[in-house]
Symmetry: C2
Subunit: 138 residues, 2 copies
Amino acid sequence: MKFSTKDRYALRMMVELASRPPETFVPLKAISTSQDISLKYLEQIVTPLARAGLLASERGSQGGYQLTRPAAEITAGDILRAVEGEVIPIPCLAADAEDCPRRPQCRTLSFWEGLNQAINDYIDHVTLQDLCPPAAKK
Amino acid sequence: MKFSTKDRYALRMMVELASRPPETFVPLKAISTSQDISLKYLEQIVTPLARAGLLASERGSQGGYQLTRPAAEITAGDILRAVEGEVIPIPCLAADAEDCPRRPQCRTLSFWEGLNQAINDYIDHVTLQDLCPPAAKK
DNA sequence: ACAATTCCTTTTAACTTTGTAGGATATTAC
DNA sequence: GTAATATCCTACAAAGTTAAAAGGAATTGT
């Protein structure tokens, strides 16, 4: 049970963006340098975040990425869900889960549902602002 | 972020053991049949559970496995930890984690620590008894 | 024109998961 | 004492996932 490095990188990237002045576009190259993540890998990580509407991009010189919402309105859950799809502990809980014949009598399902809720409750109440040092708050 | 099928099977197996009369040894073949898990795979799953002291075994005819403690005293956390080692969301939180140079300034670490705690708090307070239907309680 | 940048697709290497297989060892029943 | 029933132990293999690199096309500002 581990979150992928993509998840970890995405969160780090978003925290860095949140701690920079908003309204300006930050090129991935800058983040690549300061976070020590390869530019090419970052490009892949950023794609689902932009698709999910968490980031706006601008191409070309002076281009880059910026948050589409204030840091206080973007949660870790938003980010992880953008990268992972659903954040669920087992496949049975997927929205499109094939129906398992033993589901009606399954005694472990309630346990996993509870864990799912504990995890999602937590990640949905931590915002990017919570992860930025007060000095950098906007 | 998913728990492995080994984790899921281990939990199912333990719940089944908990819902049978204690003090008797249940052969894996019986569990293999009722849970529809291959005997050979079950053998591998059971090994770490026995090593962790959650199960006692007896070899030979009339042998099998039994819980070493009442179902109310075995938690899902005990089981998952036996199978997985530590239950942690990212490698940085491992007991033997190599020290990361960016750790002192890492702004995401606190998030992962909080998630780790939310997960472990939950799994440590669900017992096998909680997952057994009242009728089968001992 | 040129440099900087995002965007899009493909490929590869390493790793992890999910099993299967074969046999050795212990215990009970007959 | 032999056969049947189990656990135990180790190795192997197939499939899937992750982490990353590579190459180039499209867009924008100077």
